[in-house]
C-alpha cells in the first residue's frame, strides 16, 4: 500500500518537475511573442523629405518606416534620377530615438548642411542633405505619427 502511494507521489514529482520546465518554456514563448509585438508597435515618427532638383518645383514625400534609402536605383525609397547620384547613395535610419544619416560610399559624397558625412550622423528638422547635385530638406513631425500598416487579425 505504502509502495503504491509513494509510486503515485514519485510520478507526481516528475510531473511537477516537468510542470516547472513546461511553464518556463511557455513563458519563454510568451517573451518572444511580446518582444515581437512590442517591436511591431514601436512608433517611428513621421519624416518628410522635399526633393529639389535645379529649378523644378520640389516634390515632398512622407515616410513612416525606420529605413529610407536614397539613390539612382529605382528600387530606392527616394529615387534620385541624376547622373551625379550613385546607385545606392545614402541611408536614413531611425534608432536610439533619432534619425541618422549615413553615406553608402557614394562617388560624389553626401553633404549635411554643406559638411561631408563620413560616419552616421544625427539629423534634425530643417537640415539640408545634398547628394551630388540633388538637394533634400528634412521635416520631422513628431506629432504626426503615422501608424504602420498592420495585418488585420481575424
Amino acid at each position: 500500500m505504502s509502495g503504491t502511494i509513494v509510486l503515485a507521489l514519485r510520478l507526481i514529482t516528475a510531473l511537477a518537475l516537468y510542470g516547472f520546465l513546461g511553464w518556463a518554456l511557455f513563458f519563454l514563448w510568451r517573451e518572444v511573442q511580446r518582444q515581437g509585438v512590442s517591436l511591431a508597435t514601436r512608433r517611428v515618427p513621421g519624416i518628410s523629405l522635399s526633393v529639389r532638383h535645379g529649378n523644378e518645383p520640389p516634390t515632398i514625400k512622407h515616410f513612416a518606416q525606420p529605413e529610407i534609402t536614397l539613390g539612382r536605383d529605382p528600387g530606392c525609397d527616394i529615387p534620385l534620377m541624376d547622373d551625379t547620384v550613385s546607385t545606392r547613395h545614402a541611408l536614413l535610419t531611425y534608432h536610439h530615438g533619432q534619425w541618422w544619416l549615413e553615406d553608402l560610399a557614394s562617388t560624389n559624397g553626401t553633404l549635411l548642411n554643406e559638411t561631408p558625412v563620413s560616419m552616421p550622423t544625427v539629423i534634425t528638422s530643417g537640415d539640408d542633405i545634398t547628394c551630388g547635385s540633388m538637394h533634400l530638406t528634412i521635416t520631422l513631425s513628431p506629432n504626426l505619427v503615422i501608424e504602420p500598416t498592420q495585418r488585420l487579425e481575424k
Binding site: V6, L17, G19, L21, A24, F27
Partner: protein, 806 residues
Amino acid sequence: MADETQSRLLRWATLVLLIQSTVLTLSPAVRERTWDVDYRLSHWLGFFVWLALMNFAHRATIKLLPERDPYLLPAAALLGGWGLLTIWRLDETFGLRQTTWLVVSTIVFTLALYVPKNLSFLRRYKYVLLGSGLLITALTLLLGTNPLGIGPDLWLGCCGVYFQPSEPLKLLLVIYLSAYLADRVSFRLTSLPLFVPTLVVTGLALLLLLVQRDLGTASIFVFIFTIMIFLATGKRRVLLSVFFFLALALFVGYFYIDVVHIRVQAWLDPWIDPSGQSYQIVQSLLAVANGGTIGRGLGLGSPSLVPVAISDFIFAAIAEETGLLGTMGLLLLIWLIVSRGMIIALRSADRFRRYLAAGIAAYLGIQSLLIMGGNLRLLPLTGVTLPFVSYGGSSLLTSFIALAILLIISNVEDSEPAPLEDPKPYTFLAGTLALGFASVALTCAWWAVIRGPDLLSRTDNARRSIADRYVQRGELLDRNNQPINITQGESGTYNRIYLYPNLAPISGYTHPIFGQAGLEATLDNYLRGLHGNPSSLIWWEHLLYGTPPPGLDVRLSIDLSLQQTTDQLLGDHVGSVILMNAQTGEILIMASHPAYDPNKLDTEGDALASIPSAPLVNRAAQGLYPIGNALLPLIQAEFGIVQPTESELENFYQKLGLYRAPSINMPVAFDSQHKVVKDLKMSPLQAGIAAASLSYQGIEPAPRIAMAVNTLQQGWVVLPAENQPVEVIQPAAANEAALAFVIEGKPYWSHIGRATVDGHLITWLIAGTLPDWSGTPLVLVVALEENNVLLANQIRSSIFSLALNQ
C-alpha cells in the same frame, strides 16, 4: 511580467520539493512494507529553511532588479533545493551543514544585489581580486586540510568550518579575464598584450592547482581561459590548440602522474578492476542503472553505496532516486541557466559585462558537464562539484555569487546591446555546450535503460544483498517438507538460518559479503522469486520497491532422516556418501565431510577458504578421485572377463559420462585434464550415476536434487530433470553383473574399490539393489579419503537396512 514568471516558477519548484520531501518521509514505510516505522522528518528543516530563503531572495530581486531575467533564480533555487534534499537523504549531518551554507549563500547573494549595477568596481580591482584569490589558495599549501581526512588538502578552516579557495578562484578568473579583455581594443591573436598577462596569471593559477593535485579545477581553468580568449578573438584555432594541449597533458599525465593514470585507466576500461581502481565509476553506473526510467524514489535507492555521493557523485545519487525522468529535468534546468546566461551576455550593454556573463555561463556549463560526464563514464572523472547541487559551502557560495552577477547584468532597462563584431564565437560556444548536454542525456539513457538490466545482475551489485534484507527468501525443504535453510526476521532484518549445517557443502550459503555457494547459488533465481513468478509481478515489485518479489520455496530430493544417519556414521572421517534412486535419479543422501557451519560465516568466513581439509568443497559432486578398480562391476558387465584395451575402456568411460559434467542443478566438477584413461578421475556423483545402471536395466538416470518449486498460482510445480536417461549397458549383462557382486542374504550387490593419489589410499564403495528388487531401486556410493573398508561396509549396511525396510 518578470515578477509573475519568477514567482510562478518558484511555486512549481516548491511543489516539486514538497512532494520530494513527502516521499522521503514515507520512504521507510515503503522499504519495510509496514506503516509501523520511524518516519524520516529531519529533512523538513532543510525544506522550510529553503522555502524561507528563496522567498526572501525572490522579494529582494523584485525590489532591487526590476528588469532581471526571471528564469535564473527559480532554476537555481530548484537545483539548490533538490541537492539539499538529496544531501539530507544521504547524510543528515551534512544536510544540516548544507542548510547552514544555504543561509550564508542567500545572505551573500542578497547583499551582492546592492552593488553598483555596472559592476565597474570588479573591473577596476581585477588584479587585487585575482591576486588575493591566488594568495588564499596558496595558503592551502601551508595550512591546507581535508575535512574528510583523506585526499588532497584543498581546504582552509578550523573549528568545523571549511572553505575551499579554489572554488571562488574560478569566478575570480572569469572576472579578471573579462576585465582585462574588455580593456583591450584590438584582438589580434598574435598581439603580445593580449596574451602575456592573461597567460602569466592563468599559468600561475594552474601551477598552483597542479602542485595541489586539484586536477579538476585545473582543467576548468584551462577551459575558462580558452573560452574567454576565443570569445574575444573569435578564432577557432585557439580552441584547437588548447584541445591539442589538453590531449597532450592527458597523455603525459597518463604516464607520469598516478592520479591521472588511475582516472584514465578507470575511464577506458572500468570492468577490469571493478572493486579497486574503478570502484567509484562502476558503483556510479550501477546507481544510474538502478534508477531506470522513473527512479526508485527519494530515500528508496541505495546511492550511499557510491563513495562521496554527497558531492562528486551527487548526480549518480539523483539518477538512482529520480531516474531518467529526473536527470533529464536536471539537465534541462542547468541548460536553462546556461542558455539564459548566453542570452544575457548578448544583450548586455558593454563588452566587460558581455564577457563576464558569457564566462559565467560557460563556467557553470563546463563544470556541470565535466562532473556529470565523469559520473557517466562519458569523460574521465574529475573531482569537481555540480554547481548549486553538490555538497560544499564554497561551491554553493560561489554558484550563488555567480548567479547574482548574472542577474545584475540581466537587469538592463531597454538599453541597446553593445555592438558585436562577430556573433560566431557565441553561437559556437552555445552550440557546443548544447551538444555536451545532449551527449550527457543520451549516455544517461544508455546506462539507465539499455544497459541497465545487465548491470544490475552483476554479482558485485550490492543492491541484491540489500534487497535480501527486505524481501523474504524462499526456503529449502527436504522431500518430506522438513525445512533445511530458512529465512527469519522482519523486513529490514531478514537473516538466513541454516537448520542442518551438516548439509552446508551441498546446500551452500547466501551472504552479503561472501556471496553465494552451492544450491543457494544455483537455485538463487527461484529462491529470490525471479523465476516461477509471473513477469508482471516481478515488474510491479521492482517498480514499487526496486526489489524482486518474495522468494519461492524449493523442495529438494534429500531425505533428512537418512541424511542424519549418514552424517553420524561419517563423523569426523573425510569423505562423501551419495544415495540415489537408480530409476529417477533423485538424490536421497548427499554427504560431504568435513562440513562447516554457515550460521557462523560472519566470524569464521575468512578462515574457511584456507583450511587444508577444504570444508567448502562439496566432495560428493566436486571432489575428483582416481577411479582405481572402483568400476569393476560395470567393466565386467560391458566386457565380461576379457581385459579391455585402453581405447575400448576410454570409449566405455565416455559412454558412462565420465568425460563430462553431470547435468544437474548444482555445482559439479569433472576431470577435464587427464585424457589418459589410467589417470582419469571421477566424482562420487559420476560414479553413482554410472553404478545406477546395474540396479536399473543398464540405464543411467538423469540426476536430480531440486524437485519442485512452490509457485503462488499453481502450488508445487515439478522441476524436470535436466537430462534424459540413457541406456549404457545391455540390460541382461547389467543384471548378470549385479548378481555376480551380490552380498549373501541381502537384496543388494556391493563392490569395494581402491585407488591411490599422492601415496594416499582412497576407499571406494559402490553398491545397489538387485535387478529383481521389487521396491525402489537404489544405488549407493561411498568415497573415503582413507583406507577404511570397515567404515564403508558399515555405512552400506546401515543405510540399506534403513532405506530398504522403510
